[in-house]
């Protein structure tokens, strides 16, 4: 089950609550303002790194670029919209928006 998160983790609880329900095999995709959760050097980075030990985390390249986020947490994989489509084709989707 692919979880998708579109809110900034600094203003909304979506990412935090999504992380309560993800199981090991569940990838997480950050898009729209959700991509701020992928940025390196934030207060959230330790938690994201912890998550990366058990789950694949993806961030949407187009949304990162639009927001000027170039430096992402090591281990987070960047995908474009085609990659977003591939992820949804591979997994059922649980939109945590």
């Amino acid at each position: 089950m692919l979880f998708t998160v579109n809110k900034s983790p600094f203003t909304a609880g979506n990412l935090k609550s999504c992380l309560r329900y993800v199981t090991k095999e569940s990838p997480i995709l950050l898009y729209e303002d959700g991509v701020y959760g992928a940025m390196a050097g934030t207060a959230l980075e330790p938690e994201m790194k912890e998550t990366l030990k058990t789950n694949r985390v993806y961030a949407l390249r187009e949304d990162l670029k639009a927001r000027g986020v170039a430096n992402t947490i090591e281990g987070i994989q960047l995908v474009d919209y085609a990659g977003f489509v591939d992820l949804v084709a591979e997994h059922n989707i649980c939109p945590w928006i």
Binding site: M1, S17, R20, T23, S26, C94, P95, W96, I97
Partner: protein, 132 residues
């Protein structure tokens, strides 16, 4: 359009698991109300329907809501009768509830207060997840 009509007979032979995730409080936005509307319509299609209430969505089930003075519909009572519509389970996240200073006694009847692992398993089993 019109040329691409769905074949209702064929579609309804398929039974899927639909999960409604209520994460938002009532009245502040229309999302939970509209989610409930979808459930009521979907109930006619012989699908497997469940709902999860977490985050501020647990407020949807709070007893004692009186909305007359703000001029919107009070719909917590409708959650109570969902069982009659064939909705199998209404799961409420225990931690989300206690974080908001509530217990099962504060909620309308017919719900199951469960831990996050139970909800994680419920989510994992679904074909379609709809967030409201």
């Amino acid at each position: 359009m019109g040329e691409e009509q769905y074949d209702e007979e064929q579609s309804t032979e398929v039974q899927k698991k639909f999960l409604f995730v209520f994460k938002r409080a009532p009245h502040g936005t229309i999302y939970p109300y509209e989610g409930l509307e979808v459930i009521l319509i979907m109930a006619a299609y012989d699908q497997v329907i469940s709902a999860v209430f977490t985050d501020d969505g647990v407020y949807c089930l709070k007893k004692g809501q009186e909305t007359a003075a703000i001029g919107v519909k009070e719909f917590s009572i409708t959650f109570k009768v969902l069982e009659q519509y064939g909705v199998e389970h209404l799961y409420v996240d225990k931690e989300a509830l206690s974080a908001r200073g509530m217990t099962e006694a504060d909620l309308v009847t017919g719900v199951e207060v469960v831990d996050k692992e139970t909800i994680a398993n419920v989510i994992r089993e679904q074909d379609v997840v709809l967030p409201f």
